[in-house]
């Protein structure tokens, strides 16, 4: 798959020796892997997606999963991810999945401290040779789905639906990843607005409001409920969610019940729409199953290599649970013509349509991509600002 960095030859030798000591166990014994989930395993969001991927691997591979959820210092005072990972190892885990950017340091430290245990860090980039902070750790890999496509599709669905031409984006905290995703949504929206609805991009309002964290903390973050309400009240009729919780959807439902025509697009989790089907345009979701499947299979078979996987969808069928790393589940609220357009858009993407090509400017007007220049993975991954045409802050205030 395209985003994968193939390990350099001089590395392989030491990796071989790595695997000698790493994969001693006789094959018949069931392979046990551990998973550290940053949120509740049933959060109907990011963590649940990972959890279900784990279950997927369990039944496909006959492997056994051990997991700890709520792995964050607020919920587990006095514990560190390393410590929990070691606990899982002591219960037989041969491979540990750290499912959050927040566990980056823990994942690295743990991997270095336990060369005989395979480590997968979801959403990090330390195994990326072309990345900014590459660390050469043989038993350490990164996986991530190319959600930029999911967000583009979500943006398209929004653009095809909005009547006011105002799309709100409920952002968590500001960093490379969240900027990248918000911008992708914008690109998707702009494209469909322009090419399918024949409208002038200048008439498309796309506003990002950051609440300051992945979910609401009273007195600390902005209240996503209020943010969503505020969007809907001030003429934004579609809100895309970039946060862990489903306020956007819940509030859209509330307004719809009051007779307003408003919609929302949740995030992360395939079944997210179920919380309020009749206002849900669809959900871009992660399907970690196949990715974990591959890496765990490799580990089990002793074919492990330290890799960085940034996997795009399976363009043949982006919702194929066995092959596609990310998908877009169309929502009941998506009108027929809109869904046709979205399907069409997906096909275009499948056939190589790239929205990350110039001319593109950053929010402050500085040139990001020259005319015709296609962004490299690095440029996209480390996006420094929001794109020109988007409202909202680009960088956290100092």
């Amino acid at each position: 798959s395209s985003g994968q960095a193939t390990p350099a030859p001089q590395q392989e030798s030491q990796q071989q020796t790595q695997q000698e000591q790493a994969t001693q166990p006789p094959q018949e014994e069931t392979f046990t892997f551990g998973m550290l989930l940053v949120g509740p395993y049933n959060d109907h969001g990011w963590s649940q997606a990972h959890y279900e991927a784990g279950q997927y691997v369990e039944q496909k591979l006959g492997a056994k999963m051990l997991y700890v959820d709520k792995v964050n210092p607020a919920d587990r005072p006095g514990t560190t991810p390393e410590q929990l990972a070691e606990d899982l190892v002591s219960k037989g885990a041969k491979l540990i999945i750290f499912n959050s950017d927040d566990m980056k340091d823990a994942a690295l430290a743990f991997a270095q401290a336990h060369p005989d245990i395979y480590v997968i860090h979801a959403s990090g980039d330390n195994a990326w040779k072309d990345g900014k902070d590459y660390k050469d750790i043989p038993n350490f890999s990164n996986v991530m789905g190319k959600m930029i496509y999911g967000k583009m599709i979500a943006g398209c669905a929004a653009a095809m639906t909005t009547e006011t031409g105002q799309i709100g984006y409920l952002g968590p905290l500001i960093n490379d990843e969240t900027r990248r995703l918000a911008s992708s949504a914008y690109l998707g929206a702009k494209y469909c607005w322009q090419h399918y609805r024949q409208k002038d991009p200048a008439d498309l309002k796309f506003k990002v409001t950051w609440i300051g964290f992945w979910f609401n903390i009273p007195g600390v973050t902005s209240d996503p409920t209020q943010v969503a309400d505020d969007f809907f009240n001030s003429g934004y009729d579609v809100v895309l969610s970039g946060i862990d919780t489903t306020e956007a959807l819940v509030e859209a439902k509330k307004f719809a019940d009051q007779g307003k025509k408003v919609y929302a697009v949740p995030y992360d989790f395939k079944e997210a729409c179920q919380e309020a089907p009749d206002v849900c345009l669809g959900v871009p979701y992660f399907n970690w199953g196949p990715l974990y499947m591959k890496l765990i299979q490799d580990a089990k078979d002793g074919k492990w290599q330290s890799t960085f996987i940034w996997a795009p969808p399976d363009w043949k069928d982006i919702n194929n649970p066995d092959t596609s790393a990310i998908g877009f589940e169309m929502g009941p609220a998506l009108s027929d013509e809109a869904s046709d357009a979205v399907t069409n858009f997906i096909d275009e993407l499948a056939n190589g349509l790239n929205l990350w090509v110039g001319p593109l400017k950053l929010q402050d007007g500085t040139l990001y991509l020259k005319d015709g220049e296609a962004a490299t993975d690095q440029q996209i991954w480390y996006l420094p600002q929001l794109l020109e045409g988007m409202e909202g802050q680009s960088v956290p205030q100092q």
Binding site: P40, N42, T209, G219, D230, S234, Q397
Partner: protein, 332 residues
């Protein structure tokens, strides 16, 4: 921002403040009777969870609310009982309860994470809602918000205009005197603690079945609200109206925090979000500084006119808690 958006936004503030109003007024009743119920923060979480669970299982919003109020009342009664019958520190017991009920909510609420439950529907009031300004501001809400409006007036009237209300003030001020005049002090304290607790408990479902529909465990975003309500009770000087004003002020700040975000690019979002707390401290400072001994000493050094002027100002700002707040009373 158009005036229409402003109006809607303010209406949203009134809506979002409803549960805080409930909790604040509830605590005001309890403390007026002389009992501090410090368990508010945890109580709100537990009642939010419990009522959501009930509503999900029975699909009945009403049962949900009843459950929430019952939880609040029961927790409050534990505080009252351990103080009146067992002579234990109200602060201590309340504090333990606030932490325990919180964890209880997270533990028992786990199966209900992210489920879809019933939600209180909006109920615009026909004719009234069309009055310009007033209409969208006050008459386009759900029943709870209306109730919060009514409750403010009702509570004030009860406390300051009725005979039982006067007795309530009396038992909180000087129980032995109230008792000598025939008031059943401890019975009343149980009663008002339960009532106040029920109102605090009402805040729970108001969140989980309306304002922040659903239950999301640790990420429900309700942790902390109760402390704010407690502070607002003091800020309000144990007066329901002043307390409610505080609640609206708090909700307003929260809302401003986000609408101003684009206009104040250099102000960290945390500043606006946390602003209510320094403000709370500041107000508590203003209403209490008059009681400080060093102020008197300093004043004595000032020229007479200035001295008397400042004295008058301080006494005007001063709020005085019910004299027997937190002090148990033993009937023979």
């Amino acid at each position: 921002m158009t005036s229409h958006e402003l109006l809607i936004g303010l209406a949203g503030v009134l809506f979002a403040a409803a549960p805080i109003v409930f909790a604040t007024i509830g605590e005001t009743f309890t403390e007026r009777s002389g009992i501090i119920n410090l368990s508010v923060n945890g109580t709100i979480l537990l009642s939010a969870m419990a009522s959501f669970a009930v509503a999900v299982n029975t699909q009945s919003i009403v049962l949900g609310f009843l459950m929430g109020m019952a939880v609040g009342a029961i927790v409050a009664l534990i505080v009252a009982f351990s103080s009146i019958a067992l002579k234990q520190s109200q602060v201590a017991v309340g504090f333990v309860l606030t932490l325990m009920t919180r964890d209880l909510a997270y533990f028992l609420g786990n199966p209900y994470m992210g489920l879809q439950g019933p939600r209180v529907q909006n109920m615009p009031i026909p004719v009234l809602k069309d009055i310009p300004i007033i209409g969208p501001l006050f008459f386009n809400h759900d029943p709870l918000t209306y109730f919060s409006f009514i409750l403010i007036g009702l509570a004030w009237w009860w406390m300051f205009r009725t005979r039982p209300g006067l007795t309530l003030q009396a038992i909180g001020e000087r129980p032995e005197a109230a008792y000598a005049r025939g008031a059943a002090v401890n019975k009343l304290r149980y009663l008002y603690t339960a009532l106040g607790g029920a109102l605090v408990g009402l805040a729970g479902p108001t969140y989980s079945l309306s304002v922040k529909a659903g239950w999301k465990g640790t990420i429900s975003g309700l942790d902390g609200i109760g402390w704010i309500a407690l502070a607002l009770t003091i800020f309000g000087g144990w007066d329901p109206v002043r307390g409610a004003v505080g609640a609206y002020f708090f909700a307003l700040l929260q809302w401003l925090g986000l609408v101003l975000q684009p206009y104040l690019p250099n102000v960290p979002s945390q500043v606006l979000q946390v602003a209510p707390f320094p403000l709370m401290i500041l107000t508590l400072l203003l209403v209490n500084i008059g009681n400080a001994e060093w102020v008197d000493r300093t004043l004595a050094g000032l020229p007479p006119d200035l001295r008397r002027f400042i004295r008058r100002v301080l006494r005007w700002m001063q709020v005085v808690p019910p004299a027997s707040l937190g002090v148990p009373f033993e009937e023979e």
